[in-house]
């Protein structure tokens, strides 16, 4: 599985989305992506890429696209 597939899968499984418009996904933009969902997403990404994110990055992780940028800091290229 590519990093992009893993990344997309984390969103789909966490927020129970079938075929979302990934680039438009934003924090609080879908019902499931609330503060609780956010931590579930972080957990899914940390598991998928074996990383441990900094709190500042968790706070900054405001959208699908922003998340791609943040993961670069952890040497995860998507």
């Amino acid at each position: 599985m590519t990093n992009l597939e893993k990344y997309n899968q984390a969103f789909c499984e966490t927020f129970e989305l079938a075929n979302p418009d990934f680039d438009s996904l934003q924090y609080m933009g879908v019902e499931q992506w609330d503060s609780v969902g956010h931590m579930s997403l972080v957990a899914a990404l940390e598991d998928a890429f074996d990383i441990m994110m900094d709190t500042d990055d968790i706070i900054d992780f405001s959208s699908y696209l922003k998340g791609k940028e943040i993961l670069k800091k952890y040497e995860v290229e998507i």
Binding site: M39, M52, T55
Partner: protein
């Protein structure tokens, strides 16, 4: 009480910390024993405890004021892919000084260890516990964080802050089945308290019902209770273990 539970203990090289490691092992729990400095004595102590009770105990070294080291250590623990059932925050530093004689840099130094880094390690470990949907966090505060005493500005207010944090975090983590409690020990017979002048020590002891210091094991017993399922309906509480000092 802790059979097959895996526990992270910070400040494991200290009096209360090491007694807690011992008591957890006695109750069947495994331990990541975290301390700053590696010594032969510490490693030997852990080995002896592990052998005595047939559990595993791993030494983990990091400085509580170094977030990068702390994060690396917790990540390494997480990569072991074991459940992390309990976090005991027993690391701490003490400073006694009157308000007028406490520099802001000293105040920050005390808060760094007794508050900010406790919060940071809770953030790291709680995220792992949230995935498991279970966990127990025990923060070792102090009665100094409840009573107001001259000369305790730095230490007392840092422990008061930790008590507040324990309560508010307990509300946020309850939905993940993670309990958070604080323990407020009174004077305990540890190396950290050896520097208290005899007259000051006696003054505190005279105010308490039991007129003596606690043994570290007595504090460890209370920690194990809060860590275990024996306290499964307790969260956001401060357990005072002070020989009748605070409200006597």
């Amino acid at each position: 009480m802790l059979k097959n539970k895996n526990v992270i203990v910070t400040g494991a090289g200290g009096g209360i910390g090491l007694a807690t490691v011992n008591k957890i092992a006695e109750n069947g729990g495994n331990v990541w024993a975290c301390t700053r400095t590696k010594t032969e004595q510490f490693e030997q102590d852990l080995q002896n405890i592990a052998n005595q009770y047939g559990v595993w105990i791993k030494a983990v070294y990091f400085d509580m004021t170094n977030e990068s080291q702390m994060k690396t250590a917790i990540k390494e623990i997480s990569l072991e892919k074991r459940s992390i059932d309990v976090l005991v925050n027993a690391a701490g530093t003490v400073y006694n000084g009157m308000f007028t004689m406490t520099s802001i840099s000293k105040l920050k130094e005390v808060f760094e260890v007794n508050y900010f880094e406790q919060i940071y390690i809770m953030q790291l470990v709680a995220r792992l516990m949230m995935r498991q949907k279970k966990g127990s966090i025990v923060n070792v505060a102090s009665v100094s964080g409840i009573e107001t005493t001259e000369g305790k500005l730095a230490y007392g207010s840092s422990k008061a802050a930790l008590i507040y944090a324990s309560k508010t975090i307990s509300k946020e983590l309850a939905q993940y089945n993670i309990r958070v409690n604080a323990l407020a020990p009174g004077l305990t017979d540890t190396k950290m308290n050896k520097e208290i002048p005899d007259a000051d020590l006696q003054k505190v002891l005279d105010r308490s019902s039991m007129k003596r210091m606690a043994n570290p094991e007595e504090i460890a017993n209370a920690i194990v209770f809060l860590a275990s399922d024996q306290s499964s309906f307790m969260t956001g509480q401060v357990m005072v273990v002070d020989g009748g000092r605070l409200w006597s």
